[in-house]
Each structure stands twice: as C-alpha cells, then as structure tokens.
Amino acid sequence: MKKLINKPEDVVREELEGIALAHPDLVKVHYEPNYIVRADAPIKGKVGIISGGGSGHEPMHGGFVGMGMLDAACPGAVFTSPTPDQMLEATKAVDGGAGVLHIVKNYTGDVMNFEMAADLARAEGIEVESVVIDDDVAVQDSLYTAGRRGVGSTVLAEKLCGAAAEEGRSLKEVADVCRKVKNWGRSMGMALTSCTVPHVGKPTFDLPEDEMEIGIGIHGEPGRTRMKVKPADEIVEMLMEPIINDIPYKAGDEVLLFVNGMGGTPLIELYIVYRKAYEIATKHGLKVVRNLVGPYITSLEMAGTSITMLKMDEDMLKLWDAPVKTPALRWGV
C-alpha cells in the first residue's frame, strides 16, 4: 500500500485538520464528534442541510460544505458510516429554526445511523426530514437486497437542495427537491483498479492487469460483471445502457450529465468518457443542458468512472445555476 498518509488511524483526523487550515473562510471543523460545518452556521430561518458517510469519497461530503450547498458534513472512518452522535451534533449546529434535512446515501449503516440521529434530534425538538438517495442502477433485484446504493446523484442533490434552502424554502420544499433528485437520478460506475482501505492495507479486491469491474460501488462493492478491459467508448456504452433503460423520462427531456472520476483517474480520461456519454444521451433524444466532469464522489485511489444522469426541470436548472461557495464546487460568487 502506497499512500500519502501517516498512520492509518490518523487519516481522517489529519485530513480534517488540513481542510480546516485550507478553508477557514468557508468551514469550521469540529472534532469528537467529527463534523465540518459552515463557518457562518447556524443561519437563522434557513433550512439546514447535512449529509455524511464514510470518508474516502472526497470531496464528498466535506468539500461541499458552504454557502449554497451543505451546512454540515459528518465524515465517518474510511468507508464506514459516521455515527449518530456526529449527526446529532451537526444537526444541532446547523439548525436555524427552520428544520434540518438529512441527505442519506442508501447503505444499511448510513440509513440506520441517520435514522437514530433523526430520532435523537427530534427528541430534542428539531424538525428533521430524511431523504435516502438510491440511484445506482448496477444493483439488480433491489427488492431482494439492501436496495440500490446511493452514489453520484447525492452530489447533485446536495447542490440543488442547498440552493433551495438558500432561497428560504421550507423544510418540506427543500426535501421535495431532494426527492425529485432521488426519483430522477440514475448512476452506474466501473473500476479499472481496486482501492486500498488504509487500515486494511491491501486492495479491497483483486483485479487482474487486463480486467475491469462494471457496476462497482464506491466502496469497492462487486459490480455486475468482470471482463477484459475495453476501449473507453464501449465502457461508456455499458454504463449508459442500464441508465437509459432505467430512467423514468424520455426523448426531448433535459438532463444534467455528470461524469465522475473515482479518485485515481485523471481528467484527460474523464473528458473522453464525457464525449461518448454526451453522444449516447443525445442519440436517445435527451438534451444535455448542464454537466459536471471531475472527481466529486471518489473511492480513495480507485481508477474508474461513474456516470450520473438527472432529469432537470426549470426549477432545478435555476437551483443548479444558483451561487455556490464550497471548497470543491464554486460559482456565481
């Protein structure tokens, strides 16, 4: 295992220290329990938005804390859900009296920990709504599993809900935006290489030098198929097809196309992927009106990509274009 880290057990704390030193204008970092919170939280009258999950997916979620996006993020240990005490403290720290939205990725651990946190927060008199994002079409038979995993749509939900909250919308209205993303977002990913969890010290899975895994999860969960590496265009087809087959929208609709890097794949390759994904979306009559290309929801140093498609209506377009000022996503301000 080759990583720019010190001791595996210090990875998360030292990363948080780095974030605190790098972005004091945007965020404050709270330790024990760990959470990253907007420097100006809580904002009176504004719905608070928090998310969280295992570390190792940076910039998600800590890099999305700031004006127009998250009010707080709770980082767990690497690939391990954070705990309810973090979420509870973060919820209290961002509650401006208008309630708090929990954006949760659909993993058993995340869901249960956020559920317990929401119960605890409600017991303290804070109004909480939770929306569970489950957009990974790689998971089949989702009735017989823990369900589809939450992946790329989460980033988009955080941006859109953040903008809605910034506008002064109510908790229900902000949660409605999140539910739209949940309903309209579809993703699928693939890996060229495994990642290595620091405290495990060896790759999560073995992938021979000439093979790839299609449908992988962001913690290295196994995908749909393993096969010989193919040219990028064929890989993009294998990711786009299940997405297109699953979307509840049709030719003529406007979409946001998000090509994500898994952490070890450079931008030059992501643009090659975007090019083909755009072509396929367009061929199906979808109008790509917004996009995002880059490593936003990663899996440590895994090489690979995921593609997310989200139908956009007029309101969502407005929310997407609204100003955002976070360490990892910034425009309009």
Partner: protein, 210 residues
C-alpha cells in the same frame, strides 16, 4: 440463581477481550462478503466501552446497558454500530434500576434487545444477518426458562442455538446489508454479524455459568 451486576460487568469485559482476539477473524469474514471492517468496528466499540468500565461498574444493570449502547452508537459506525447499540439500549430499558437479573428477566431483556435489532434493521430470519443467530437464541432461552431449566443449562442452550443459527448463515444468500450486493456469490460464507452475536451469547454462557 440470579445474574448479578458484577457478572454483567465480567461478561462485557470477557466479550471485549474475545473481540480483540477474534478481530482479524471477524474482519476476514467481512472481507469475504462485506467491507472488511466488522472486527475493527466491534473492537473499537468495546474498547471504548472498556474505558468507561471503571466508572460504570458500580451502576445498576440498566445504566450499564444503556451506557454500553450509547458508547457503541458513537464509536462503532456502519451497520453493526446502530444494531448492537439498539440491542443494549433495549436490553437496558428492561433492566432499569436492577442490580441483578433472574433468568426470566434476562430472557425478557434479550427478547427486547433482539426485537430492537429486528425493528432497526428490518431483517427477517434467513436474510443472512445477525438476526439468524439472535432469533433462535432468544427462542431457545425462552423455552428453556419456561421449562424450568437451570440458569447455566439455559444459557448453554441459548448459545448453542446462536451457534447453529450462525452456521446456518453459511449457505444463505444475503438479502440485507452490504453482503446482499453480492447476490448468489454471498452463499458459502458465514455472516460476520451472526458470528459476533454468537460470541456475545457464548461469552454470557461461559462467564455466568462459571
């Protein structure tokens, strides 16, 4: 015969020791069908519990269980964290203010604990989770207690049922938790959560019968 507060403390200590010892094994089980952290997670949680033991050891059983639950809640994370936290929080409700538990009381507490885990995780028997160890164990303990079996014998039957349940997870296809993403490929592996649950009840039998 009663289970005294000090025996509860001894049980938790013995379990923490066992987890330290079995940490790698549990993680290995989790590596096969999950994300290779169950051992580390549980060990971290029970080490945190151990740090609180000095101040805890003269409290009542209800307080001890609830503190264990809250400690696990804030230190374990993942799926195991809230599930084991719920286990102890629910058991704690049944033991509020008590300095010792009768077999019937322990049986009721365990049943409440396991019902809490069921509610939290929404897993059914056969989903290849800790439920597969816990539910038969509760059933065995209840039956033994209703039949008037001795404490030590009842505890052994309970642990034995957990062990059988744990082993029964091997051929199963997971339908809950991270292992469920594997589909058919999850068959042939023993569930890590069922294993740590079996350890918990086996430790109780060993410590309380000694």
């Amino acid at each position: 015969m009663q289970i005294h507060r000090d025996q509860i403390v001894a049980w938790l200590k013995a379990y923490a020791d066992l987890l330290s010892e079995k940490k790698e094994y549990l993680t290995e089980l989790d590596a096969a069908i999950g994300d290779a952290d169950h051992g580390a997670n549980m060990d971290r949680g029970f080490q945190a519990v151990m740090k609180k033991m000095d101040e805890l050891s003269n409290q009542d059983i209800g307080t001890i269980f609830k503190t264990v639950g809250m400690t696990l809640l804030s230190t374990v994370g993942g799926a195991g964290g809230p599930l084991y936290a719920t286990f102890f929080l629910q058991a704690g409700m049944k033991a509020t203010g008590k300095m010792e538990l009768s077999l019937a009381e322990w049986s009721a507490a365990l049943e409440a604990a396991v019902n809490g885990v069921k509610m939290r995780g929404k897993a059914e028997l056969g989903d290849k989770t800790m439920i597969d160890a816990l539910v038969p164990a509760v059933q065995a303990l209840k039956t033994a207690q209703e039949n008037g079996t001795s404490l030590s014998e009842a505890l052994q039957q309970c642990a034995h049922a957990a062990e059988e349940g744990m082993k029964a997870t091997i051929p199963l296809v997971a339908r809950k938790g991270r292992a469920s993403y594997l589909g058919e490929r999850s068959a042939g592996h023993q569930d890590p959560g069922a294993t740590s649950s079996y350890y918990l009840l086996q430790t109780a039998a060993d410590v309380w019968s000694a």
